[in-house]
């Protein structure tokens, strides 16, 4: 009963990653962890793209994935930059302590 890993498996994995990432963004308090959860979502996207790319037999998806990786890095870099500025003025990285503006 050993089946080869098919595209569906990758899609289930990616959907699971999307769900974990979403829960992470909504439930965690530490901003660094939230940023990591967002990275998880983007990695779910990458798995989807690569799986489809392999399934369909052309490279468009891989090219898209490269761009997604780059965008993820840009977002993470800007996010960390803003986080440092925030930490300098507020001395906290907990999302629920950042409450100067009403949520």
């Amino acid at each position: 009963m050993l089946h080869p890993v098919t595209t569906t498996h990758y899609l289930v994995l990616s959907a699971a990653l999307l769900a974990i990432g979403t829960i992470g963004v909504l439930a965690r308090r530490n901003i660094v962890v939230i940023l990591m959860a967002i990275e998880l979502i983007l990695n779910a996207v990458n798995i989807n793209l690569i799986a489809f790319s392999r399934h369909l037999g052309h490279v468009h998806g891989q090219v898209f994935a490269i761009f997604v990786i780059t965008v993820a890095v840009a977002e993470a870099a800007v996010g960390l930059g803003i986080l440092i500025a925030l930490f300098r003025t507020r001395a906290t990285v907990q999302a629920d302590e950042i409450n100067l503006l009403k949520w």
Partner: protein, 490 residues
């Protein structure tokens, strides 16, 4: 030129090239040509030059389309499509960028954060918007969206030593990046369904499936969540009031008009492109979202005492009106969206520019009390603000009336009488909270004697936005023709 970069490709890319080139140049000129802080305002001249070249490129594209009688032309094997829609929206973005840059130097000097990068970021964000309006490929659209969004994250947090600015930036970034993730997930599913990243191929592939196919629904749902975040409609609007309140006022102005217009251009392209075959699914969904947006935006605005936050909620409600144009879905509705976003750009920019003028060295100038007695202190600003608020409320003869008129007309044509009635009812609520500001300006005593901030750029920008808000309302024909063009050519 090579097979990968033909002269047509170049022709389609010129405006974006100019914006990117001048954006990079501004970053370098900040060190090498204008190193002294006093010289930084010359960077605005440079920025204006870049926007001018980009506008020239747009005009040439427009002339080419009309002289050849073409509806559109594509470049980069279908990754970019230049049509009336793209040119119209790009015109809006360029105008907004120029106006915002003009008013920024005085404001940033007062805030003590006048850096050259600001102008580079405006140009690069505008470059991203160009790809949002012209792109017809998932990768192009995604990268364009992120280019715009990342520039905005930085600009929202531009006051590095201001707690509110930092906080607004981190909230905007977290929710923005989260929504981009969802959007990218939707795109990846679309790519899987179609085996191509071109919008045209995806439209065909999705049309071959049922609208209720689970994968189509997954793509629709995740893409819609991402897009709804970007245009800040209920229930994905939470970031907007915080980001708008905490950001530097000039950035708030830019964010509320240019980012919103670009995101709507993107949303219209996706919903009337790849997702058109799932219309029976998204039309009721969009109607519900639009009504919820009108409700939350208008009712929350009533209780606000911070004018920036009030205008943030009002801009959420305006997004609801624009969505209604898409719900109607007929040519009048699309024309209505174009007209609405054009008018909204000038009237909303104008309203925020008055707040920019109210920011003085020791006065934040964004509470309702800060506006009190403005009529006695500076009648010109008070009257301009009155015009912008009348227009935002949609009262003739201002431009806002024309904008709302087309949305209502489109709804009636589409026999959506209930939606039209709900939308009309919320105009009354809007009038109530806009007139709280008016009453404060004209009836109350002045809060302080400090004269308003002023600069050549600020006066020019206020004049232009005020003039256009009245002019489009009094003599709308040429603007309507432009908007009509953007629908017909589609």
């Amino acid at each position: 030129m090579s097979e990968f970069y033909t002269s047509v490709d170049h022709f389609a890319l010129v405006p974006a090239l100019m914006l990117a080139l001048f954006g990079c140049a501004v970053l370098l000129f900040d060190f090498f040509v204008f190193p002294a802080p006093r010289q930084r305002k010359w960077l605005i001249l440079f920025l204006a030059l870049g926007i001018g070249f980009a506008a020239l490129g747009l005009v040439r594209q427009y002339m080419f389309l009309s002289s050849e009688g073409l509806a559109e032309f594509t470049a980069f094997r279908g990754a970019l499509t230049i049509d009336g829609f793209a040119i119209f929206f790009n015109g809006i973005f360029l105008a907004a960028s120029l106006i915002v840059a003009l008013v920024s130097y005085r404001y940033l000097e007062i805030e003590g954060e006048h850096h050259g990068e600001y102008y580079g970021l405006i140009l690069l964000a505008n470059c991203g918007m160009y790809f949002l309006a012209t792109g017809t490929d998932l990768v192009t659209l995604f990268v364009g969206l992120e280019l715009m969004a990342v520039c905005f994250y930085i600009m929202v947090g531009f006051l590095r030593f201001d707690k509110r600015s930092n906080e607004a930036a981190i909230k905007y970034l977290l929710l923005g990046a989260f929504s981009s993730g969802f959007l990218a997930y939707g795109f990846s599913v679309m790519y899987g369904l179609a085996g191509s990243t071109r919008l045209g191929d995806i439209t065909a592939a999705l049309a071959a499936r049922s609208a209720w196919d689970p994968l189509v629904f997954l793509a629709l749902a995740t893409t819609a969540v991402g897009l709804f975040f970007k245009v800040s409609v209920v229930p994905f609007h939470m970031w907007a009031p915080d980001a708008y309140e905490g950001a530097p006022t000039t950035v708030t102005a830019y964010l509320s008009v240019a980012s919103k217009a670009a995101s709507f251009a993107f949303l219209v392209r996706i919903f009337l492109g790849p997702l058109i075959s799932a219309r029976e699914v998204w039309q009721p969904l969009l109607a519900a979202v639009a009504v919820a947006t009108l409700t939350v935006g208008n009712l929350a605005a009533v209780t606000q005492t911070n004018v920036k936050r009030l205008l943030a909620y009002s801009s959420i409600s305006h997004a609801g009106y624009v969505l209604l144009g898409l719900v109607a879905g007929n040519p009048t509705g699309i024309k209505g969206i174009a007209v609405y976003l054009l008018v909204y750009t000038f009237m909303n920019l104008g309203a925020f520019l008055v707040l920019v003028a109210l920011r003085r060295r020791d006065i934040l100038g964004e509470e309702l009390e800060d506006l009190s007695g403005l009529m006695h202190k500076s009648p010109v600003h008070a009257v301009l603000m009155l015009i912008f608020l009348l227009s935002l409320a949609g009262i003739p003869p201002t431009a806002g009336f024309i904008a709302k008129y087309y949305i209502f007309w489109a709804l009636i044509q589409a026999r959506e009488y209930v939606l039209a009635a709900i939308a009309a009812a919320y105009v009354a609520v809007a009038i109530y909270y806009y007139f709280r500001i008016v009453r404060s300006m004209f009836v109350s005593e002045a809060a302080d004697r400090e004269p308003l901030a002023s600069s050549f750029g600020l006066r020019l920008a206020l004049g232009v936005t005020g003039l256009l808000t009245v002019a489009i309302g009094v003599y709308p024909e040429p603007w309507l023709a432009l908007a009509q063009n953007s629908v017909l050519l589609r």
